[in-house]
Amino acid sequence: MGTGGATGCADSPPPCGEGSGVGLARSGTTATFSPAATPLPSPPPQGGRERAESAAAPRPESAAPPPKVELRDVGLRYFGREGETEALKDISLAIAPGEFVAVIGQSGCGKSTLLSLISGILRPTSGAVLVDGKPVTGPSRKVGYMLQQDYLFEWRSILENTLLGAEIQGLDMGKARERAAALLTRYGLGQFLHHRPRQLSGGMRQRVALARTLVTEPDIVLLDEPFSALDSQTRLALADEVAEILRRERKTAILVTHDIGEAISMAERIVVLSRRPGRVKSDRPIRFATADGTRPAPFAARNRPEFNGYFNTLWQELEVHVEG
């Protein structure tokens, strides 16, 4: 990971706080970034949090396409016998179609809860979650969710595992089967269709999980620390593959992670959540200056000069609430 690299970035200024005017957006769809790039003094003063989150809410309706995913003042509290826990508070976010957003924060800050809200398996206690402008009332076919581990069913073959979502959603199984086999083949698992999960390595299993998520053809893919159970080499390789697949298929992706390097290298925008109750602490685009304007692959992005600057800033932001 890039902790060692973070020391070398003192000379390069963090390229993050420049606002939305800088023309470094990737080629093609220029309007994919929400204009919520917060001018972020780092470390931000306590009062600055409020500003950072409210800045995300109002957006120029005319210019940008309607957001694919929108959270309006979302709050979530868990109730237990010992009392209630406020997991998320006043979260407002708008995510454009095709955008790849990473949400980082320390464990227990409600990152995963945020994904559960967007996927519709949890309802917010206050505020509203919208997908394509419509309030989320339950799990929807538009949203695919990749969990921290593969959770493949040991009683099903690889192909059968991949078809779980299609079965549950009652899709045309003939077509789903073709799609699943094609996806698995593309991910290098063509000869394992009828194997059992235990016969596969961790990286292969997580690729099966990705295929399982994509067989139902969601527009939005939620990734909840999808690489956390893998060893570090597999993790880097798979990050490249997954980012490439999701970009090529123009999925809107939301990645939750506590790995700063993973977030910078994969996402084009990073939202930092504060400690519990999780609030939006900062929200900034991640841009790499390249000759052709395309975004470098995650592994290559780690070697870019901008990487260390972002890393430093984000590191400090996370550090702030270790102490505070």
Partner: protein
Amino acid sequence: MSKVETAMAAPAPQAGASPEYLDWLRRERRSRLSVRGAQLALLLVFLVLWELLPRAQIVNPLFTSYPSALWPTFLDLLKATPQQASILTHTWSTVLATVIGFTAAMIIGTVIAAALWWWQALYRVLDPYLVVANAMPKTAFVPIFYIWLGATLSIYGMSLAISLFVTILMIYNGFQGTDANKIKLAQTFGARKGQILTKVVLPGSVPTLIAALKVNVGLSLVGVVVGEFQSANLGLGYLIQYGSQIFKLNIVMTAITILAIVSSVMYLAISWLEAAVMRRR
């Protein structure tokens, strides 16, 4: 036992195995054989003692009979008389009642466990009663079952009663133990409760179901034999009761030996089923 073990152990050594590996295989095989040998020896010692102690008048042969007396007694009991059915008919009756008992316990137990899983509130209400019902000595109900259900049904009833509650508790615990993340995964695809049950909870609980079946076979047999003590004129339990009343220990011991064989065969059948199911996972 042996059939299951030979099926699982002793894969053919692959070509080009190192001498060390072959040596290891040989040692493995030797230790397996010596365990098997010790088991046989133990059985033999038991039979020899059983034969010799009564013959030497150290124990009263009237109380214990001899192993050598079993076979002639068996042949004797094979013949059906107007007063007495053949021992095969007795055995069949006991086996049938046992199979009916544990099959019913499995089906009813799984359905009730699923209902408890479905309605958590129901479980919370019933939990203490289930635990007490499971702890009750069900055999205390043999006379009552006889009055309520009559001669034949009371045997099935006892066989079911003795295994049902433990089945419900075991299977319910299995259902509860389903990985919450697997359920969450199904939910992310929008699974309804019924789909979670059929696609996640039930298939994930197959090992629990087999474990419950294993427990049930033994318990059902106990229920049947105890039921037969009270009410039947057929079955190995009846034969044991009858033999002891007329003080013919030969009959009692023959019936008990057949019971031992019956329970071993059923245990083997389930071990085989278990191995077949687990090989697929």
